[in-house]
Symmetry: C2
Subunit: 432 residues, 2 copies
């Protein structure tokens, strides 16, 4: 008779430490929920000498993964080290050693999902990863289980807290991109090298994971079109506000007629959309399904305790499986092989800001260049004069990315166009 | 070898018909997810002769529950008849016949939860009820699984679409309560007898269910303090707007020092709160946990397809259990027995609107009456003159319901107070 569910914890950083804390503090409640107590038996760290604030009790702390993999008493390996390697290798070894695995690792799941789920299936073990997207927000299980009856047509998320904090600050305090980035770095919200966040790569990994589940078809990081927020200016945010929008870094997955669109980029979102009110470091994932209609999941997308909330929930779920002698109830659900839609074929309205010469006939020339590429203009605002130039802001009707690029190339080469300032997609808007 | 998971469907109304539709339309996808096809084998209806738009294929339609209970091929009974009886009796008989049960029935779960979960446990079968709260919004499974590692301190929901539609209309179009109710009835959003919605009873059943899960302690309908929206006027909604609030019918459960508070009532919600933007027929449930922090779940809380989305998700979950030879992984989690907090001891700020005589010394008399009951005033607005009276609007500091009642009784009996117009709780506000 089993006395406890035994856990091997890989990593004792912010998330790992919070998992230890939650498992200790809620021991009685979790034990009731599972029917057996949880016990963190072994912990893998890089440096045993490092001073830590978390008390791992009588857990054996080691720097050798084999100490954990070879321990037959360990039921679940919890990977919260982060990074691609050696995390991926450890997860694979754990699965092949017949251990259930819980991971918070978006890098690994977005890139090696197929291989790891196959290993889990072959070894009849669980592989759960709720914390890999949206931190503490329940989204993986809701998509895999609660919305399993739906034909999902769209997933749109604000899934990077750093950039959402930055864009919110730029909007509310009219701070420049450079200033707000410096502040986010000072507060610890952004890394010294902020590329993964501001370049959209963190969000790209998350939307790869979400779209794989939503469309039952494997999407990996390489399939995602990615644009970051580095070119977003306070002027664009101000125009957005005037026009009834906010600018957000969105991660979008759509099941369209040309295939699955998966992309990360800044976008104008109308104020009436549920995602528009998601501010600061908060994350939210908005889902459209043929039966459920619209649904949204909101919360803290990062941080030690929120992430550990999701990791520990997965641990409890695996423990319930162990207690009930079952496993692999829900593994990979990518049993379809849907084509991807090339980004050039994706159709959306665009917001465009141009600096042009302020003289007669210029607007006609610009309109002609748009028209030549089948770009129809929905609304045009000529707003400010800057030196001798006029600033023209316009929103197009939906047009393919191929065509908007051709039009912008033409405009860029026109002598009357001083500068193409901004080209930003408009999402979730009915312009037709 | 099992060829299909067989379902007995009780009820072929809006929800039942939508379940049939989803199971048919998504047959291939669901079959892949489960590993076996689903088959609706038998359907219970009240009237076999009734014309229906839904095609039940080769399912055997019957008016006798025993035809379904006695069929050994039936694995899952899906109860979507609604109402307390005979639904509760049928569910109990199904569990005792060794059938798994999926139900959308809040009335039954809020009242007979304990008995039914015990029966499910005794018979080693599943009893799932995701659709009983929030329609298509995933909330039961997120609370039971995804947030299982949290000490939940608060659940606050907008869980009744009819009243949220009415309050939104009253706010946006300044329509009176009576007019908006008539319109909601004409549109089919409100019943001919609207008591269950406008009286708060529908929301009360839902918060009883949610708080039982959140606090691991059984709460039934009788434990819920209930106040409806019938006394809410456009004037109060206007004052709320001026003060930076919206009025919502909220269902609240809090784990406070005096015990579990469970209540349904209209409340002022600050505009900055995530629930404030939940409009029209949409529902949302906001949850606070010690690890996850804040989370919110948003979507359509009613309607055939959204509700059927949740019902069919439960069916898929049970089918996965059957396929994996397991059951009862997660049943009743009410293993604690926490005391309830009497409503008199609940402490909140209050919004109060009074009509008083417009003469010197009146305000001092009123302030004295509040002070005598330990009610401190946070802000006071004297706004309009109506005939010879003055309208005073004020917001108190947090005060117990017992004290506010005593104060209001005193005021009501004072000769200078013409009328106590409104007394409305203020939620989610830091006034201290």
């Amino acid at each position: 008779m089993k006395r406890a569910i035994q856990i091997g914890l890989l990593g004792l950083g912010t998330v790992g430490g919070s998992v230890v804390k939650i498992v200790q503090e809620n021991a009685a409640n979790i034990s009731q929920k599972v029917g057996l107590p949880l016990k963190i038996s072994r912990v893998l760290v890089r440096n045993k000498e490092k001073q830590r604030t978390v008390d791992t009790g009588d857990a054996i702390v080691t720097t050798d993964i084999n100490d954990i993999l070879a321990d037959p008493a360990i039921d679940i390996i919890v990977e919260v080290m982060g990074g691609e390697q050696p995390a991926k290798e450890y997860i694979l070894q754990a699965l092949n050693a017949g251990k259930h695995v819980v991971t918070a690792n978006k890098d690994v799941i977005a890139k090696y999902g197929r291989e790891l789920f196959t290993a889990a299936e072959d070894n009849h073990v669980d592989l759960l990863f709720e914390a890999s997207v949206g931190g503490g927000i329940p989204i993986i299980r809701p998509l895999k289980q609660c919305l399993a009856a739906n034909q999902i047509t769209e997933v749109m998320g604000i899934v990077n807290g750093t950039t959402n904090y930055m864009l919110t600050k730029m909007m509310n305090e009219k701070m420049s991109y450079a200033d707000v980035l410096a502040e986010a770095q000072a507060k610890g919200y952004a890394e010294a090298d902020p590329t993964a966040d501001v370049g959209g790569w963190d969000a790209a990994r998350k939307i790869a994971i979400l779209s794989s589940i939503a469309f039952s078809s494997r999407v990996t990081l390489d399939d995602v079109y990615v644009e970051g927020i580095t070119n977003i200016s306070v002027e664009d945010i101000e125009y957005a506000r005037e026009l009834g929008y906010v600018i957000k870094l969105v991660a979008v997955a759509k099941d369209s007629e040309h295939g699955i669109e998966v992309r990360v980029h800044p976008a104008f979102i109308p104020n009436s959309h549920p995602l528009a009110g998601v501010s600061d470091v908060f994350n939210a994932i908005y889902v459209k399904g043929h039966a459920v209609g619209e649904a949204m999941f909101y919360g803290r997308g990062a941080g030690g305790l929120p992430t550990a909330s999701a990791v520990t929930a997965d641990i409890i779920d695996v423990a319930r499986d162990i207690k009930h002698n079952t496993s692999s109830r829900i593994l990979c659900t990518c049993f379809e092989n849907k084509p991807l839609c090339p980004v050039g074929k994706t159709e959306l309205p665009y917001y465009i800001r141009l600096l042009v010469e302020d003289k007669p006939g210029v607007f006609a020339a610009i309109a002609g260049a748009f028209g030549a590429q089948q770009v129809s203009l929905h609304s045009v605002i000529q707003k400010r004069k800057i030196n001798n130039c006029a600033e023209i802001v316009l929103i197009t009707y939906p047009v393919s990315n191929d065509n908007i690029k051709l039009a912008m190339n033409t405009l860029d080469g026109m002598s009357v166009v001083t500068k193409v300032r901004s080209v930003i997609r408009v999402e979730a808007e009915e312009i037709a």
